[in-house]
Symmetry: C2
Subunit: 430 residues, 2 copies
């Protein structure tokens, strides 16, 4: 798949680019001012307009069919074509964008500075499911309620997840309006209504589903990986005070549904192939996965080694020209279950997955405070504020705070790739 570190593009700023070198080629939906959204691929600091390349006659066969399926401003129909379409398009783009390409002149006209473009959600999400497979996060949150027994008995058997809200998924850069809702103030027996006072972020991996399954037909674990289209970053903004009051007995609802932010580029399963690795061994004493979740190939190569980062920049830090402050550095290896296990579990009851469905991983905290993926964990439930370079403190997010998620894959001998950013700034409640 041409992941060698030496492969270079004639798009000079792509070579050595933090996120989008030639080896990445993430897919998305963008628009230029006054124009309709269309499909593109990120290359360095630019976006290649795939429909313009199609119109120029530079795609044939499966690659052509792939780009034709992207028309209409959403990748769902392309996702439905599965891996062969992604591979054909990738191979063709690697050729077109590599140094020495004979089509450089024609392509140049279809290449726009990313800074001139608006990025949209890459697909129309039918259903969004949020999992809870960051075992360190589950442990940290569980400890706030049950210090001696943080994980519930089902945690190591069931990839815990719940249905999320699809209508408020938004691309990076969308403002985050502080939600209002019911909360039960400490020491009170009757709830109050007002703006959330414990607004938080959650660092998550987003998982795009490619081909679906018919209702009633489970996806076997050995085939589940074929249903992964690609990955992104996901910020599962959370209103902790609303959540604490509303979530029994049916789970989080309005505490999450006000907005969920995604990084807009789909980093494909193929681009991620060099960053696959073995699922970390379960600690001594943990149960083996049930057979429907167990596959030797998945255990050997089904995990991802992706560095994850959370940064915060307050309004005062912007005024003082201070850079964003890193709150956490974590890794997708903190997932207790693989993506294939999530897909197999989600469909085992016959639930139909559809192209363009989205999963969140759950918060991917690591084992130490410098790797915690939410302020709830960093501040231990609001007890210990974080100190910022501006001299400010934070237990939870304040209006004007911008949260930035980043991800990056690094491995010796192959080119590093990144996910781009997943940003959002908190604005005051209405």
């Amino acid at each position: 798949m041409n992941h060698t570190a030496i492969a270079r593009s004639w798009v000079e700023h792509a070579n050595g680019h933090r996120d989008f070198p030639l080896q990445n080629l993430p897919l998305g939906i963008f628009s230029r001012p006054g124009q309709a959204p269309r499909s593109g691929v990120a290359i360095g600091d630019a976006i290649l307009d795939l429909e313009a390349v199609l119109a120029a006659g530079l795609f044939n066969g499966a690659a052509k069919a792939a780009v034709e399926a992207m028309q209409g401003g959403a990748l769902n129909a392309f996702f439905a074509l599965g891996r062969p379409a992604r591979v054909a398009l990738r191979e063709r783009l690697l050729g077109l964008l590599a140094e020495g390409s004979e089509h450089q002149g024609a392509l140049q006209a279809a290449l726009y500075p990313a800074s001139d473009c608006t990025l949209h959600l890459p697909a129309k999400v039918g259903d969004y499911t949020d999992f809870y497979v960051g075992i360190q996060h589950a442990t940290n949150v569980g400890k706030l309620f049950r210090p001696d027994n943080p994980l519930l008995p089902n945690y190591k058997y069931v990839p815990i997840g719940y249905h999320g809200r699809a209508s408020t998924l938004r691309p990076s850069g969308t403002d985050v309006r502080r939600p209002k809702g019911q909360t039960l103030p400490a020491g009170q027996t009757e709830p109050s209504f007002g703006p959330c006072a414990r607004l938080d972020y959650e660092l998550e991996l987003g998982i795009w589903i490619g081909q679906g399954n018919p209702m009633g037909q489970a996806i076997p674990i050995g085939e589940a990986d074929e249903h992964l289209a690609g990955l992104c970053l996901l910020n599962d903004w959370s209103a902790r005070d609303i959540q604490a009051w509303e979530y029994q007995p049916l789970g989080p609802f309005l505490s999450k549904s006000f907005i969920t932010t995604l990084s807009p580029w789909v980093v494909t399963a193929e681009a991620l192939e060099p960053f696959r690795c073995a699922q970390p061994a379960r600690p001594e004493g943990d149960p083996q996965p049930l057979p429907y979740l167990l596959d030797a190939r998945d255990q050997a190569n089904g995990a991802f080694d992706i560095e994850l980062e959370v940064l915060l920049r307050t309004a005062r830090m912007r005024e003082q020209n201070l850079p964003a402050h890193r709150l956490a550095l974590s890794n997708t290896l903190n997932m207790y279950w693989t993506v294939a296990q999530l897909i197999a579990h989600h469909s085992v009851n016959g639930c139909a997955l559809q192209p363009g469905d989205l999963f969140g991983s759950g918060t991917l905290s690591g084992p130490t405070p410098g790797s915690y993926g939410s302020l709830l964990e960093i501040s231990e439930g609001g007890k210990h504020p974080v100190l910022l370079p501006s001299g400010e403190q934070r237990k939870f997010l304040e209006d004007g705070d911008e949260v930035i998620l980043r991800a990056r894959c690094v491995r010796e001998g192959v080119a590093s790739i990144g996910f781009g950013e997943c940003r959002g700034t908190v604005v005051a409640a209405n």
Copy 2:
């Protein structure tokens, strides 16, 4: 709105029809063999093809725009037009289908026996939310876990709900494949995997959202009713054993997402107008709703008086030519919150509702066993089986069992209307 009992249709079988007299005019999507799904209205035992009536030039103005918005096999764009479009279409259909209509000849050609047609889901559901506002059900289920304190502290303040799965919503008549999943057998500490052994139905009202709201802008309680398009029946099939093991801490997931069945006709807010009534008084000692949920007009006229019925017919009952056996007779007055309160609550955090979103009410049990809306309640958690006319017993559903939900509005001086049926037959696990 012409609800008088004496209004008659030239479609003779519509007059006095249990469900679909002239006064109802529910909207839906149907198809004839080999043809694409299109919009229609139920009249007696027939379906009037609205697109054929449109093609015949019999709609003008707002009614024409309404039917044009229904093209493409889904009512979403029509729902987005809100109440004025529904009212205009209803007024025109009342004229076209009333006795003495001058267009009877032209319309006859657009009228098909319902038995020759297939009914589909009326809209493409973006998000499906399931509430839990049947207070008798919440009490009955709570008692199984907490006999002395069945309702959690938030119940009378928060209209409890959670996100459901949209991809497995299906129209009446779709078979219900028994799901497989993880369960924790009594007395065990490790889960098993296999077909659900405690399969159940839930009697719910389905609520179709008309016009939506932009993300970040709550719908005030005084305007919430304007966002209701219409109602249907909803069977929230539930795998009780899977649910018990999976639902902590994030709520039900695979125990519900295998299928949810809907009655296919949208009984419009206008057809239901005569069956509005005051929200039943809260019992002495219950708190008042918080201000964002309280509106005098809603309290005075925001509830619905709709009779609900559950019937069961087993395979043996079909062999013995026994009719379906009534398991429960209940009423929508068992809702602790009005539809307007659900809409105001769902959007109060800024969550965007969209045309064609669907709410479930939660199971609408009444206070006595003859009105319980699930087998879990009737059998008290599987302890006391129901005796059936065939001599069989049921604690939970067995393969071959057919569950039928019905609803009917009855009030002196106006024509009764019904919802049609919401049926499903359990088939063996794969």
